[in-house]
Symmetry: C2
Subunit: 427 residues, 2 copies
């Protein structure tokens, strides 16, 4: 497996370059924009994620000898194209919304300006990264909202592609998850990792007490014991017998979590374990989390629904040519239309600082008080504008997200289906 | 980024090993089974995919110095665990369903027998690979069934994580797709790649005819022209004017595909382009494909719904300890129960060779005439039983799938929600 990202690309990007090289259009100055036509499933907002990962991949986007051999082996043998691919390096400009920013239908979350050949070649990778990571971040943000300040752990690695899992853990932490189960996300992005034990660990032992004793001896009394292997309430009694009332937490991973949490809390309190937390982790999504708001739960572990975008596993963003040699262009046949011309974008706010509109305009915006520019320079003449250190980048994105979520109107946090929290307007 | 797969692992696998090393249980002989408790969304079957990818990753599953440093950096510093990780190598046995095989609730699609520490360490990676790839293969098989012999192209890379895209292309080809847009899938797995041009290529040019001419000059008259940028029927006329009636195909990527296909076919025929194919590619899933069965369509391109598992983006398989030192074990508290003991599995068939039941039994099966063993040896004493060459492996899996799909009962091909096509029975 090549470590270069260049083959993570649709074949047609290369055949378009070949044809454009042949007829002299490959160097036309082009502007491509990335946007979502709509939010999935009546969502109220989207959250942009993946920009840092994309810029890292862009920095490595060079065709090596192995890549060129792989292209030839697939029957793409045009010598002009192959010579061009061997030399091509991105020399254009990229602007975009800050990673962690909210977006709405039509928000130009990424703008690529470059000669056609260079810009079209990036389409597949740009969309793969942003569509995946934004889908996860958008779902994760809803879960954070539903959790109302209780900590959330991302633990869905086993339910998605092994590399998508790392990106999902990154996207979840970006919007406020406290930790992840995924070790690679810790290693690559500095996301705090967490985890203690599974049912298998209890079943490995001759009895539950022996399993708990082994875990406490190794991980300390602050650990989380999984208590629902045999009989949940008896498991809690055994946990406190073994660990004492200073046990960090018990985890409930099956059954009716709401009523079990109440019973667990009462039992723990009756055993003097007042500070032992109750963590729940079975098939949670934002709706299940919201339904547990009144239950005595101290933390949520979220797996499947997080890594699959809670019903919307892709953000559905597109990468569209909007300008060619300064001329606005757009598809006009019925369906999948777009607006030609490079866009400016600001978010409008009321006097209290609450967002009221997403202003997306071809050309320049007439700014009002309280408007905030959304497009920031990311790449100039092929070079990243900021340091791409993955850990520092992600921390900055997390900080940005935390800050801008306070500007969203209250209706953004509704979990029901409806209209975007603010309208996208063109003036 | 490490090229080793060992960090694509949940932290708790390591903390369980640490605790088991400390109390002497890490070497207990264990059997873990992978199975799905149910099929998602009223599906009639699942298709197992990813086994070849998993065995490749397993062959590289060794902790290098960088991996160990990354583990330490996350606060996992137990010296006994770190010394064990530095040396650990899988020495156990793996059996499983053949890649491409159909599965049903409870089918033991993978069985891992090894000392606890070795076996538990693989949980996350095993599930990530099989859950993702099987979800895609299961959805793709439904599309192949709905397409009724018309060729399908996988083109969803842009809608999923960039590495998941490669695995999705592989899984789609495994079950009968004819090609993929993804170049890396061609390079790594020998999947045929396809693709010609996007709307951007037309918009790049001064007019549609110039774009078509450039494409035909480079790719030949056998190419596929995308005709719906400005006016679809006029686009078809222009396409035939430029390419002549020997044009390979026109592609419709928007609008009402059923009526457009009829109009396109009539127009092409009126222009003498009787052999020019009509390919459609806009937001198709198995239901949309089925709805186009009577339309004059010659091929389907499938994107989003393929790579997102058409509503079921994960197969929901679990990895459960079922035997420890020869003793069957199982979780017994309410929810997420399983059946203890290592299982045998055969598929039962009637005299005509049609599958009638999935027989899954702890211990051995009393075989009847027509029973086919489903579990095949994959790894013995840590070594793969067969050559893992990715191209040859995938071709064999595709052949296997093609063969076994003829044994499914007709109700398997119903797209409506319902019961599994055959029952899973225990005798």
């Amino acid at each position: 497996m090549s470590s270069s990202p260049v083959l993570l690309t649709d074949r047609y990007e290369l055949t378009m370059v070949a044809a454009a090289l042949a007829d002299g259009t490959a160097d036309r100055d082009c502007v491509f924009e990335v946007f979502a036509r709509r939010l999935p499933h009546g969502r109220r907002y989207g959250v942009l994620a993946g920009t840092g990962r994309l810029l890292e991949a862009l920095a490595d986007f060079r065709f090596g000898d192995d890549d060129l051999a792989a292209v030839r082996a697939q029957g793409i043998t045009d010598p002009t194209l192959l010579a061009w691919l061997a030399d091509v390096e991105f020399t254009g400009d990229v602007d975009g919304y800050a990673e962690g920013e909210f977006y709405f239908p039509g928000s130009p979350v990424l703008t690529v300006r470059a000669p056609f050949g260079q810009a079209v070649l990036l389409e597949t990778l740009v969309l793969s990264v942003l569509n995946h990571d934004s889908a996860i971040a958008s779902a994760a943000t809803r879960m954070i909202g539903a959790a109302g300040g209780r900590p959330c752990i991302e633990m869905g690695s086993r339910r998605t592609h092994e590399e998508a899992a790392v990106a999902a853990a990154r996207a979840a932490w970006l919007v406020g998850f406290g930790s992840t189960s995924n070790l690679a996300a810790g290693a690559r992005y500095g996301v705090p990792t967490a985890g203690t034990s599974a049912h298998a660990f209890t079943l490995l032992h001759d009895d539950e007490a022996a399993a708990f004793r082994a875990q406490v001896d190794t991980l300390g009394t602050g650990t989380t014991l999984l208590v629902d292997t045999y009989d949940t309430l008896q498991g809690i009694r055994t946990a406190i017998e073994v660990a004492g009332p200073e046990l960090g937490a018990v985890r409930l991973d099956s059954g009716d979590l709401g009523s079990l949490a109440v019973q667990a809390r009462e039992l723990l309190d009756s055993l003097g374990a007042h500070r032992t937390r109750v963590t729940v982790t079975s098939d949670l999504d934002e709706h299940a989390i919201a339904a547990l708001a009144a239950a005595p739960v101290d933390g949520y572990g979220v797996g499947t629904s997080l890594v699959t975008g809670s019903g919307s596993p892709t953000a559905g963003m597109v990468y569209k040519l909007v300008e060619r040699d300064g001329v606005p262009v757009a598809k006009t046949a019925e369906g999948k239309r777009s607006v030609g011309g490079r866009k400016s974008a600001v978010r409008r706010h009321d006097a209290a600082g609450t967002a009221t509109a997403e202003v997306v305009v071809p050309g320049d915006v007439a700014r009002l008080d309280g408007d905030r520019d959304l497009l920031v320079p990311l790449v100039r003449a092929g070079r990243p504008v900021a340091d791409l250190d993955p850990v520092a980048w992600l921390r900055a994105a997390r900080d940005h997200h935390e800050q801008v979520r306070t500007t969203m109107p209250p209706e953004a946090w509704s979990l029901s289906r409806g209209e975007p929290a603010i309208d996208t307007v063109d003036a």
